[in-house]
Assembly symmetry: C2
């Protein structure tokens, strides 16, 4: 609604003649990939869809979305798996541990798809997990190829694999034009985590 | 937490030594700009921040986020202003009406900033509104230059103005690699609106 401006004569409500579960990939090196997936989750909740967010390589560093989703009065589940970003400075865990965690996560994703217990499944940072060989290409392609037709699957992370991109319906690449951290501004809660 | 994988030894919580309100711009022609802003809103709510989302040129077409934010048990307000996208096929409203609505919206933004009644203010599609001359560059620059130091300001929409980009701390450009609608897949609730 407008505060002072005149309202539109009517509000239209789109309703697709054919419902279809989409594969959406958000990749690239810029800020806004995980956040876009969270936004889709918020939007999906508005439509009454059931949402599950599986975060790969996260769990060692608090993120605001962990509590954000708890404040949502809707069917939304967020599971942070892993031990942080594999291979980045300061991360003390060996590759094999990251791999074991990611393998658990991909198995969990398979169960979520098989159980048809959500309408939107976000695999956050899964592109990175594949790039780092924490999961195998075949495992991810199997998920994409066998997803329930009405389920939306959102994949985030840098370096999306070309075969994943080929299977996707919608792919966006987020490019960094500039980022506060390059001017040594510390990560700020609510924006950066 | 992990379902089966071992948990990290500890969860760190970043806390910046210096809190700073950032100007974040999400621009480009790809899907994920408004959704990224919504994700930041969700994340900010997790941190207990107060959020206001002002949507320019929206209000004629139902969007899932309108109900999504209502399901959030936190201090979040979403105001859809306007009468839809100015100048796109099917939009029946003349430019002058769009301009009047956008002028109301920018005035509302100014009041929100002056009243310091939120910690994160999203001006959704404001870049488009400027490009279409529904608001003036000076109006937007005045907002950016006079924002409270701790307030985060997120601006979305294509064609961000170079002077807006120059003032921003973090800027991402979302590029379309592919989009379902080009294969004539209808917009799907929860993903596209």
């Amino acid at each position: 609604m407008n505060k002072r401006g005149t309202k539109p004569a009517k509000i239209d409500r789109l309703e697709p003649q054919v419902r279809q579960g989409l594969i959406v990939v958000i990749t690239g090196n810029g800020k806004g990939k995980t956040t876009a997936a969270l936004g889709m989750a918020l939007r999906a909740c508005g439509h009454g869809l059931r949402v599950c967010i599986l975060q790969f390589m996260k769990g060692d560093l608090y993120a605001g979305e962990w509590d954000g989703v708890k404040k949502m009065d809707c069917d939304i589940e967020l599971i942070a798996t892993g031990k942080g970003f594999c291979g980045i400075q300061g991360n003390p865990y060996p590759w094999a541990e990251h791999r074991a965690n990611a393998q658990d996560a991909i198995e969990l994703a398979r169960e979520k798809l098989a159980g048809q217990c959500c309408d939107l499944l976000v695999l956050d940072e899964v592109n990175n997990a594949l790039k780092l060989k924490l999961i195998d290409l075949k495992q991810l392609l199997d998920l994409l190829q066998n997803k329930p037709p009405l389920l939306h699957l959102v994949l985030t992370g840098r370096d999306a694999h070309p075969r994943v991109v080929a299977l996707a319906d919608t792919v966006s690449e987020v490019h960094e034009v500039k980022h506060a951290y390059r001017r040594e501004i510390e990560p700020q809660p609510g924006i950066d985590y």
